[in-house]
């Protein structure tokens, strides 16, 4: 008997939730004012709800089917798993997307799929959903499509025309890890597809000398995901891989997904999942790379085991390892150096640069910029405030480490 739509929605959203990517951003602004249709994108993305795992619900994140010919150890949909299988028709996905969208539950669709029959067959189905949404229904909301490596260039081109973002998951930080856990996936094929997408995304941004726009191709760029803690890769390995991905393929985002227990798990997987704190630290490091001018190498340089400090955030840990550079004069330091002060965010730095053109910034002014004075105090210097030399304090780390928790007696 065919399963009900509701049952299949449950199966195919459960199957899709291990992909951390949720962004509905990066595609610029677009709306239906002229077309009279449905949908818009705001540029920054909108989260329409949050689930108790702390993740946002922005896009309808589902698989077309969770049947898959691949047997990737970390994946809930691998062929050797006994999970319940189901599939949607492209029409059903289109209908669900539009109805949820009309009720303002979602920003759009994030569609992926298990590999069925062939790469081209799977990709063709994904593209059909996007094509119908755009052409038949005039849908102008966000569409994120998973790209299947080795799919034909014609399908990739069409996907790029309709999608706001494309992604292929590299899955494992190292080639050896991928070979071990995803024997049917080929690191080379994934990189090649990312390279091809980068060239097309770059070309899509260009204008000819007459000012004519090139054909639209995934204006929100491409992203990828790595699974953390399933193999033995250290944070240093993971971040080195990220650096290469950002540099080589101009990715908008690399997502880090702490490998999560799944039903009917493979024996290849470690019995214990990694601490979520590790994933959190990797995201912080990623953030420091993308917005604060840090190189990944700097963040792990002081760590003997190549792992980020779980107790301290990477920026603070870096500052403690580089005490000689502090304190920083808030009224003289360059923007680059201000960005490296623990406790100062991008917005606070912009505000300081703006304010100090007209009058000296004092320590107490920082409170008005939503900055924690307790946290920045040891690292900055202002008129009327000068911290004791950091290097003189042996106990500096303990000032920031979380208070030890008393063990429960029972």
């Amino acid at each position: 008997m065919k399963k009900s739509l509701s049952r299949r929605l449950a199966i195919l959203s459960d199957a899709a939730k291990y992909d951390a990517s949720c962004a509905s951003s990066g595609s610029g602004r677009r709306d239906s004012a002229k077309s009279g249709g449905l949908g818009s994108t705001t540029g920054n993305g909108i989260c329409h709800a949050f689930t108790p795992d702390g993740r946002c619900v922005s896009l309808l994140k589902i698989l077309l089917t969770n049947f898959c010919v691949y047997d990737c150890a970390y994946c809930i949909n691998r062929s050797s798993s006994n999970v319940e299988r189901a599939r949607f028709t492209p029409e059903e996905v289109v209908w669900l997307t539009l109805e949820f969208y009309r009720r303002n539950c979602i920003e759009g669709l994030f569609l992926s799929s298990g590999i069925i029959r062939s790469s081209d067959h799977t990709m063709e189905q994904l593209v059909q959903v996007a094509r119908d949404l755009r052409l038949k229904h005039g849908f102008r909301g966000y569409i994120h499509l998973k790209t299947i490596p080795d799919a034909s260039p014609r399908l990739l081109e069409e996907a790029g025309r309709y999608a706001d973002r494309l992604s292929i998951n590299v899955e494992m930080p190292t080639v050896a890890g991928l070979e071990q856990y995803a024997p049917q996936k080929k690191a080379g094929g994934i990189r090649q597809a990312m390279g091809e997408m980068r060239l097309k995304i770059d070309a899509g941004k260009e204008r000819s000398h007459t000012g004519r726009r090139a054909e639209r191709f995934s204006p929100g760029g491409q992203s990828t995901q790595m699974i953390v803690g399933a193999d033995a890769a250290s944070d240093q390995d993971i971040l080195a891989s990220s650096a290469n991905l950002y540099g080589s393929y101009g990715l908008r985002r690399v997502y880090y997904s702490a490998f999560s227990p799944i039903p009917d798990a493979s024996a290849l997987l470690p019995a214990k999942s990694p601490p979520l704190q590790r994933e959190h630290r990797l995201y912080q490091a990623d953030w420091l790379f993308r917005f604060y001018g840090f190189a990944f190498g700097e963040l792990t340089a002081g760590r003997a085991d190549g792992m980020l400090d779980l107790e301290l955030d990477p920026k603070l840990a870096w500052a403690l390892d580089n005490r000689a550079l502090f304190p920083v004069d808030l009224n003289r330091a360059s923007k680059e150096m201000l960005l490296r002060v623990p406790g100062l965010g991008v917005k606070a730095v912009a505000a300081i640069l703006r304010a100090r053109r007209h009058q000296a910034v004092r320590l107490e002014d920082l409170a008005r910029l939503n900055v924690s004075i307790r946290k920045v105090r040891p690292f900055v210097q202002t008129p009327g405030w000068s911290p004791a030399r950091l290097t003189d304090r042996q106990d500096l780390r303990s000032l920031f480490s979380p208070a030890p928790q008393q063990m429960s007696l029972l």
Partner: protein, 499 residues
């Protein structure tokens, strides 16, 4: 000092405030002498009704002492500020307008107490708009009798914004939900859209009954997309504060999702390994078919390309996208050997498609050489680079990389048997002729290696990327000319070998 009481509606309307503020500024009435009040809530900040102040009429009766215009920076900030529901907003706006007269840069001084407060209020308004765009839910209204097919669908929503933001946020909804009719009801007024006109009304609304039977499907999605192995309710509450929950039906599920999470994770951990389903065995059996072994020495260019793509002889394969093999006819008489693929070549998987390749093609054209007759390849097949932020900076391959890649180049030469091999740059020269020759000695010259049947002409030229690095100017121009002249030898290379 006389105090003047100025009373405004509890709305975000900018013009009424502006009129009053202008009147007061023109009469040089300091902020301390004004008591801004909201109609209906005619109490001062301490909850006292004070009647001791004079009214607007008394204020306008004062003589005008100066002409005042609001600065553009104020016009940009203050209308946003007045959307806030804080009763002190009118007084704060006036204080800023007053102080700006003496300090034109005031709005830049974000550490100033007034400016900092104003920025917080504007941010809160923006957040309120964002939350409304996020957490408002439409429900479909049943089609009324007499309405046929093809009518626009009708939707209704209820939301409780914190501030006076309806007019700000209304266009967001009309530009998004353009093809349907809808109404948004709030305690601070309503917005209506019928496909043509967007109407905002300040009339407070009552919460309607909303249910179109679609909520269940959304509940299903919400519950299924939650991962029980990572409960982080603090993060959820930070982004979706409790005050919004009562109008978000799916949040009813949260207690049971959280309560059941631990047991679900435990069940997963304790689950015993089960035999794989039958289709898995069939799939894997198909995979077991032995692949054809690759020969040690390739018999044609396709086989060679397949082998090169799997090369791991040096560490460059770890960071490069792919090995870039040569391109051109298998019976080409002339082979051109460059250094290594660059950024663009690495991404595209084809040699000489980047800026240096472009220059080479132009120069070949100027020299009158048919590019299609050439076999183009590189001494090293993988791209060597170092990362600088988000950019890949080309690095010359070293002797180890060249040596590791040499067997591929030798096989290409053996398969194509070119009569003339042109090296571009020092790396290609070293790969072809060993470390004994210096680029400065042989650039632009040609010579023969081998004898009789095996005799091959060699020509050494500069690498086009070196020409690119020279930039513009007299030297660059003369070097480019020299390069083109060198390439004319390809055009003039005689059909008969050995001459």
């Amino acid at each position: 000092m006389t105090r003047y009481v100025l009373t405004l509606e509890d709305s975000a309307a900018f013009e009424p405030w502006r009129e009053m503020a202008r009147a007061a500024l023109q009469r040089a009435v300091p902020p301390e002498a004004l008591d801004w009040r909201i109609r209906g809530g005619e109490t001062d900040l301490f909850g006292q009704i004070t009647d001791d102040g004079a009214g607007l009429e008394a204020l306008t009766a004062l003589p005008v002492v100066k002409t005042v215009t609001l600065r553009a920076s104020c016009i940009a900030l203050l209308p946003d500020l007045l959307c806030h529901s804080d009763p002190g907003r009118f007084a704060l706006a006036y204080r800023i307008a007053w102080r700006v007269q003496g300090n034109p840069h005031l709005l830049e001084v974000v550490t100033d107490a007034d400016i900092a407060r104003a920025r917080i209020m504007v941010r809160q308004n923006r957040e309120d708009c964002h939350k409304m765009a996020s957490f408002l839910r439409f429900r479909e209204e049943p089609v009324q009798q007499g309405e046929g097919q093809g009518e626009r669908r009708r939707f209704l929503a209820w939301f409780e914004p914190q501030h006076h933001i309806l007019e700000r946020i209304a266009p967001f909804f009309s530009k998004r939900f353009t093809d349907m009719d809808w109404m948004i009801l709030t305690p601070r007024g309503s917005i209506r859209w019928d496909g043509k006109e967007l109407v905002c009304s300040p009339e407070p609304c009552e919460q309607p009954e909303l249910d179109d039977g679609f909520g269940e499907l959304w509940d299903t999605y919400y519950a299924s997309t939650f991962n029980p192995a990572r409960v982080r309710t603090k993060a959820m509450r930070r982004e979706m504060p409790g005050r919004y929950w009562k109008n978000l039906p799916e949040t009813r599920l949260i207690p049971q999702l959280v309560a059941g999470a631990e047991a679900r994770v435990r069940t997963m951990a304790e689950q015993e390994l089960q035999p794989a389903p039958a289709f898995h065995e069939r799939l894997r059996a198909r995979e077991q078919l032995p692949a054809e072994p690759m020969p040690d020495v390739a018999e044609n260019l396709e086989d060679l390309a397949a082998q090169v793509r799997t090369c791991t002889a040096c560490p460059l394969h770890c960071s490069a996208t792919q090995a870039v093999v040569g391109e051109g006819p298998a019976d080409a008489r002339i082979m051109v050997v460059g250094e290594q693929p660059g950024d663009q070549e690495d991404l595209a998987g084809r040699p000489f498609v980047g800026p240096a390749g472009q220059l080479l093609h132009e120069a070949l054209g100027e020299a009158g050489v048919d590019r299609g007759a050439l076999y183009l390849t590189n001494a090293v097949k993988h791209f060597r680079f170092r990362l600088q932020g988000r950019r890949r900076i080309h690095q010359n391959p070293d002797a180890g990389h060249v040596a590791a890649c040499r067997p591929w180049l030798e096989q290409e030469i053996a398969l194509i048997r070119p009569k003339l091999i042109v090296s571009l740059g020092a790396t290609a020269l070293r790969a072809l002729d060993g470390p004994g020759m210096a680029m400065s000695d042989v650039r632009g010259t040609s010579w023969t290696v081998g004898r009789g049947e095996n005799a091959v002409r060699r020509l050494a030229l500069a690498h086009p990327s070196w020409l690119l690095r020279l930039g513009e100017g007299a030297q660059a121009e003369s070097e480019r000319q020299r390069f083109v002249e060198g390439l004319t030898r390809l055009r003039d290379f005689p059909d008969q070998s050995g001459s």
